[in-house]
């Protein structure tokens, strides 16, 4: 695929010059890089968060951030690929595979999904790998993966803003 190849070419040139790992190489392309912030949460009834973790990765338009969520009976693989247009609008393509065992028979259920959503920088998108029940009852726990894409330069500003504010 043409679009994906170009970032790899850039990486090649950067790696051969700097000998660094990919993340640093991407960080040096400051104005092209995109920050993908992922907040993974487990919610119980009434959207109360009972567990969460946050990750942030730097990528480039057209290069996926691969997410792997593994639990005792569930494995979720999600590739999140942001694309940035010249006018700054973003397209988020999320490609997911969900493997889940249902206890009685031990068989594995599998879903694959693919969806593209146009977003603005900083606009959050939520991926529910196991679906979502809006009228949830007591024992239902929802996995929610909140994705936010920002230009890397914006991300830096945000971090600096927090640092300043906390003083």
């Amino acid at each position: 695929m043409k679009v994906r190849f170009l970032p790899l070419l850039i990486l090649v040139s950067l790696v051969s010059v700097h000998g660094e790992d990919i993340e640093s190489a991407l960080k040096s392309l400051k104005d092209k890089a995109l920050a993908v912030n992922v907040a993974t949460r487990v919610l119980e009834k009434d959207q109360v968060t009972v567990w969460h973790t946050e990750s942030s990765k730097v990528t480039i338009s057209g290069k996926a951030v691969s997410l792997k969520l593994s639990g005792d009976n569930v494995l979720i693989l999600a590739d999140i690929t942001p694309y940035m247009n010249a006018d700054g609008t973003l397209l988020l393509v999320a490609q997911g595979e969900v493997y889940i065992t249902s206890s009685p028979d031990g068989g594995v259920k599998y879903y694959s999904t693919m969806k593209s959503v146009p977003v603005k920088a900083g606009e959050k998108v939520i991926f529910f790998p196991l679906g979502v029940a809006f009228d949830a009852d007591e024992n239902v726990y929802t996995i929610e993966v909140e994705i936010e894409v920002l230009p890397y330069s914006e991300m830096i500003k945000r971090k600096e803003g927090i640092t300043d504010g906390s003083r």
Partner: protein, 194 residues
């Protein structure tokens, strides 16, 4: 001095001649002759009128044509034959649900991933198969690439683990169940739905 005739005489042109006259398909001299004849023959005029009425009726056949929409479709067909379909107006969702015995999971998963990728890349024609379409995005680059040779590039691509991975270990408690189809929603849409 003309006297209007109301019966056909041997001077009247045959109906087929009148038909050709009606279409303007006689030679110029014959056209003139018939014109002259018509000015003094109401029956032939009536016959001619009959052709005109018929023509009008044929053209009055109800016919609704949305030219703009149809041109759009034709251009799309032309384009679809040459390029990947552009600018999807709506997003689509592709679901697959399969029961697989545990040992086969990994191999099958890989196969599905490749199938998805292949379908996206090679999708050339608009189809009714519901599938997410990638909107046309601005290409990244071109950048100047400092690569010494293709071998170096190939080697790099082969050896490097160039994926950006996030691995998250989910808690053992609670146990998770499938609640429905996976969903990807904008935060605003999600909040509205609650």
């Amino acid at each position: 001095m003309y006297r209007e005739r109301d019966v056909h005489t041997k001077d009247c042109p045959g109906k087929d001649v009148l038909s050709a006259y009606f279409d303007g398909e006689l030679d110029p001299r014959s056209m003139d002759q018939v014109s002259v004849h018509l000015s003094g023959c109401s029956l032939c005029r009536q016959r001619l009128e009959g052709f005109a009425v018929l023509r009008k009726r044929l053209n009055d056949v109800p016919f609704s044509l949305d030219l703009v929409a149809s041109k759009e479709r034709t251009l799309n067909l032309i384009e679809a034959q040459h390029v990947l379909r552009r600018a999807a107006k709506r997003e689509r969702f592709w679901d697959r649900r399969v029961f697989i015995p545990l040992p086969v999971v990994a191999a099958v998963g890989l196969l599905f991933m490749f199938t998805i990728a292949a379908l996206i890349v090679w999708e050339m024609q608009p189809k009714t198969v519901e599938m997410a379409e990638i909107k046309d995005v601005d290409p990244v680059g071109p950048y100047d690439v400092d690569v010494k040779n293709l071998e170096q590039l190939a080697e790099f691509l082969q050896n490097s683990n160039s994926t950006i991975e996030v691995t998250i270990r989910l808690p053992s408690q609670p146990a998770f169940f499938l609640m429905g189809e996976p969903k990807l929603l904008r935060e605003t849409d999600y909040k509205r739905g609650k």
